[in-house]
Symmetry: C2
Subunit: 318 residues, 2 copies
């Protein structure tokens, strides 16, 4: 009963495709030349693409990994993945530097004049700021989202990161004048009553882009290095509860779910829930130790943009 599909006119498909894609005629010009209707030309081109008469390929320049990026983006619903070449897979510090450069480029590319930029802490982010070209952006606003880490005398690091960034952007800066983690909940309560701290906290909801490192709880990681940020007992406890790592000292499991623990009560900084409210969270991390924690962050949709290396990336898409 139905009208059977008309056999394809290969000659016409080919001719239209050539005129459109090789001679760069508009579909209107083609319609006139070949006596067809507007819509028919459009539909012929569609079919020519479907039938493989027209082949469109994107060649990847060497050192780029667009397929890995696409795979990450699709699998983990990222708005963007940036995969850089790990030139020396052994060296974590070299890798951090490369990731920092990539993150700096990304920041400059996406920077808007009215951005409210949240910044956590970490080696890689530190390299990011180091690699950043100055770019005056008076309307921007840098906000520290986690208190200073480590012993008081090194607290400058966290603060300094933000300060340098705001300096490079010539923009407003809001620091979080507090330690990242305190010994007792009571101390935290006291600190939270400080008006400067409260001011920073109140800004969290206005952040529209955050740059965060992703930490793996290995013995040589920064947070464990001198035992002063987190004790071994606490780390053990977190690991027992399934922690695979942290973002801004908020530990989570392989599915990106926050770990409920006493540690969490003592951290002064943004929560994972608040982080998830931010439109764009850029995670910068790579290296063999970080695979599990990055995967957790991805699965829990804690980040929307991932900047990593090609070896880590290929593990993540397995």
């Amino acid at each position: 009963m139905p009208r059977p599909k008309q056999e394809e006119d290969l000659r016409l498909l080919t001719k239209v495709s050539k005129l459109y894609y090789e001679e760069n005629l508009t579909q209107d010009e083609i319609m006139e030349r070949l006596q067809l209707s507007r819509s028919k030309v459009s539909r012929l081109l569609q079919r020519a693409r479907e039938r493989g008469i027209v082949k469109i390929t994107v060649v990847s320049p060497p050192g780029l990994f667009p397929d890995l990026e696409a795979e990450l983006e699709n699998r983990y619903h990222l708005s963007e993945a940036i995969v850089v070449e790990a030139r020396d897979p052994q060296s974590q510090s070299l890798l951090s530097r490369e990731l920092g450069i990539a993150a700096a480029n990304y920041l400059l590319r996406t920077l808007q004049d009215n951005d409210v930029i949240g910044i956590s802490w970490g080696t890689t982010l530190s390299y990011m700021v180091a690699a950043l070209q100055p770019r005056p952006t008076p309307g921007a606003h840098v906000v520290q989202i986690i208190g200073g880490l480590g012993p008081p005398e090194s607290e400058v690091h966290a603060t300094d990161l933000c300060r340098r960034l705001a300096q490079l952007l010539q923009c407003r800066l809001t620091l979080l004048p507090a330690p990242g983690i305190v010994d007792h909940v009571e101390v935290k309560e006291a600190i939270l009553s400080d008006s400067h701290v409260r001011h920073a906290f109140n800004l969290f909801s206005q952040i529209n882009v955050a740059y965060v490192g992703i930490g793996a709880p290995t013995p040589d990681s920064v947070i464990m290095r001198d035992g002063s940020i987190l004790s071994w007992d606490m780390l053990d406890d977190l690991l027992k509860k399934g922690a695979v790592g942290d973002i801004a000292l908020r530990f989570f499991d392989a599915w990106g779910q926050a770990i409920i623990s006493e540690v969490d009560q003592r951290v002064i900084g943004i929560t994972l829930e608040q982080l998830r409210q931010i439109k764009r969270v850029v995670g910068v991390a790579g290296g063999p130790q970080k695979i599990d924690v990055i995967r957790g962050a991805l699965r829990g949709r804690l980040i929307n943009v991932l900047i990593t290396d090609h070896i880590t990336a290929s593990q993540l898409v397995r």
Copy 2:
């Protein structure tokens, strides 16, 4: 003094290209995902095509010659060239049949309901009509543009061609009831006074598409076959004046310029000048003897559409 061109961001070019051509996002979606402006996405895609990051190829199915067609179209300003495979280059009659089929397909593809179709005469056109599927087109109108050729008893051929075509299209028909060539100018004058003849002549300016054969003045051509259409003396005279062949008995030289001769005065049919006024003139011809005359017709822009075989075509683009 000038601002130097910014080095291309290969990563971005590649990424945008992939998203657009492989993931089929719209430029709007890309702009949102990568935080770019509408125009920038468009411009990046342009550059990616220019730089060869995006490669678009049209593959030719076997038996088609889109490159030859494009070359003919461009070199001779044709609106369309159709090149068919000459399966047996030796046989002129087989070739005519194939060209006829192609011409019939072309006619059906381009037929509009209000077409006024001029038809000349020739073996190939005869095959075209023979190959034509019926297609009722009540608004169309077939017009004979050259008188009947050959001895009176074979005059039916020319007329019959038109009649059969009009029959297949179920459309109006205007015949040119006269011989294609007469012995004396005086006779022509007399015939032109006939109202039916005048009616046909008056329609020439309304023709919007004409199908014509292209004749080569070789001893075995149809017009010479029995000496009754044209005498040997006259052919000699035409050749001396540079004639390479004819369309509808109007002889022209290698540049498509009409040959002024006594013969011309005695032909009853459309002139080359009138032919050139027609929006679309479809020439159907192929074979080794016809190369020079086809080239003349092309150079003189006597036709806008050429239907030929791949061997002839490749000679023509040399």
